[in-house]
Amino acid sequence: MELKNKKLSEAEFMQERKEVLTHWETGKDVDLQEAVDYLKKVPEHKNFAAKLRKAKEEGITLAQPRAGVAGVDEHIKLLQYLQNEGGADLLPNTIDSYTRQNRYNECEVGIQESIKEKRSMLNGFPVVNHGVYNCRKILDAVELPLQARHGTPDARLLTEIIHAGGWTSNEGGGISYNIPYAKSVSLEKTIRDWQYCDRVTGLYEEMGVKINREPFGPLTGTLVPPSMSNAVAIIEGLLAAEQGVKNLTLGYGQCGNLVQDVAAIRGLIQQAEEYFTTYGYDIELTTVFHQWMGGFPADESKSFGVISWGAATAALAGATKVIVKTPHEAIGIPTMEANAQGIKATKQVLNLLKGQHMPMSKELELEINLIKAETKCILDKVFELGKGDLAVGAVKAFQTGVMDIPFAPSNYNAGKILPARDNNGAVRYLEFGNIPMSQDVKDFNKQLLEERAKVEGRDVSFQMVVDDIYAVGKGTLVGRPEGK
């Protein structure tokens, strides 16, 4: 079957669907019409798309944690705690890593061991094993909209189950849930599988149920230059729109330099809107800002500093929601208490900053323009490679290193680019690999890194990259040599 950026035909989709629903026994409980009827009865305040739209209208930033454990009852307890004690605005269901790799048998082991050991042996909620009715049980137990957050290259069955289960948002995408999360799954396959997922969402929309979709913005979470992640976000957004997705949240992971981060979010929404208009999609667009996604400091107080600074940046950027980290980040899956602590610190900052946005300045404008120009260089080439077809173009772009994500595990990623911070901590391209940037852009990136190198009295080198990887965990933004 040839990959094309084209809405899946009903026949094609329905045939595939039959097979997908057999991947695990819980698939049999999915009944589209019944699910639509059920979803139509879900009250508005538990609908993800509706809540995001409202937040956008009000100009506020919502807070959403990550959270998931092996057992249904424990998971409910966790979510209720994050809702009541933490004050979360939106709730997640973070899915475990075996489910993400479709290893449902191993999930079963994990579930059993968790019962035996009386603690979660899984790093998330194994939603496929638990099935549709348990999803609904969870929705019944809380008063907020629910989303699945995972990292699943082939999320087709998962998608069917969660939406039938009343969860009204799904994170992921053919690029963003492959390149950072897989090693040997081809992009053709994941883009195609995510067309399926998007088509499911599209079907619900067509049947009158609003479902939110969120490409995973931060990718590897580690020094990803904003233009690269914005390019991925826009591509995944366009691919989703083609399948009928109507309510989209595009994401970005904090880099740490305020001006760059604000510019990335503002640039992203502006540029995405331009592309959607150009390609004729009518989309309800919102943004999500991820608090620092790279290595955290082990010290909890320092983590609160990182978390709060992320919250502040999200608010100043005007993101519609912020994904919250916890003071346990460097060590392990947080306890429910630590998780609530992260939300509380975040919400305090969001509330202090309600109505405050970063005013436009020369510096901000320059950065927005730079990010948009870089992103356009990438996207132009992607369209060119695909001869106008974005799905094909994306596959070829990764093949040729036109798109390239730093530190990604996938064999389908060229791994030729290197990022590093400039002297103010903004993430720049140190190695461009095969990314087709204009000479201006290249020169400017280079100049900025040279400036830093000069300050540090060393050459621009891979050591700089390594130092930057460790920096936030060690308490700074820029990884300087000792004593600099």
């Binding site: 475990d96 890593s97 075996y98 993400r100 790799q101 290893r103 191993e106 082991v109 994990g110 061991e113 603690r119 979660s120 042996m121 899984l122 790093n123 990292g151 950072p180 999360y181 897989a182 090693k183 040997s184 590897t220 580690t222 790279g294 290595g295 082990a298 346990h328 460097a330 060590i331 392990g332 899956i333 947080p334 306890t335 630590a338 530190f407 990604a408 595990p409 891979f462 390594v466 990887i469 965990g473």
Partner: protein, 141 residues
């Protein structure tokens, strides 16, 4: 001649950053690294060790399922003829913030020679590995 060692991230774990940094650091320190990358099974580790006649296997597990994924690795190594090969584990080995001593003990009981807490620097592993290899040499001679 350089000492061969196998490096990788076990199980359904895709955390690649630390793996790339370890590769860089151990290579810089003079080891011959075979990096099997993320999402590697016990069999992948063992096959690579046999193929390269490795002196040590360095297992990373970041995502929390390390406890399940590492179980039985020592026994499988023995079966495959990798008798007494050095086994190290590091990363965020278990789910959540747990008492470190008990985690360490669990992994030692599984047959790991060295177990590293979250955020351990590569330098510490390099120092230990050099030390352990010296000891091995002594034992042989």
């Amino acid at each position: 001649m350089k000492t061969n060692i196998v490096l990788g991230v076990i199980g359904a774990d895709c955390h690649a950053v630390g793996n790339k940094v370890l590769d860089y650091a151990f290579t810089e320190a003079g080891f011959q690294i075979t990096n099997i990358g993320v999402l590697s099974s016990q069999e992948d580790f063992i096959n690579a060790a046999i193929e390269t006649n490795a002196s040590a296997i360095l297992v990373s597990s970041l995502y929390g399922h390390g406890e399940i994924d590492c179980r039985g690795l020592r026994e499988k190594c023995e079966e495959a003829g990798l008798k007494g090969i050095l086994l190290y584990a590091g990363g965020n080995l278990v789910v959540g913030k747990q008492d470190w001593e008990s985690v360490k003990k669990r992994f030692e009981d599984m047959g790991f020679d060295r177990v590293y807490a979250p955020g351990t620097s590569p330098e510490e592993g390099i120092r230990d590995l050099k030390e352990d290899l010296k000891q091995e040499l002594k034992k042989i001679s």
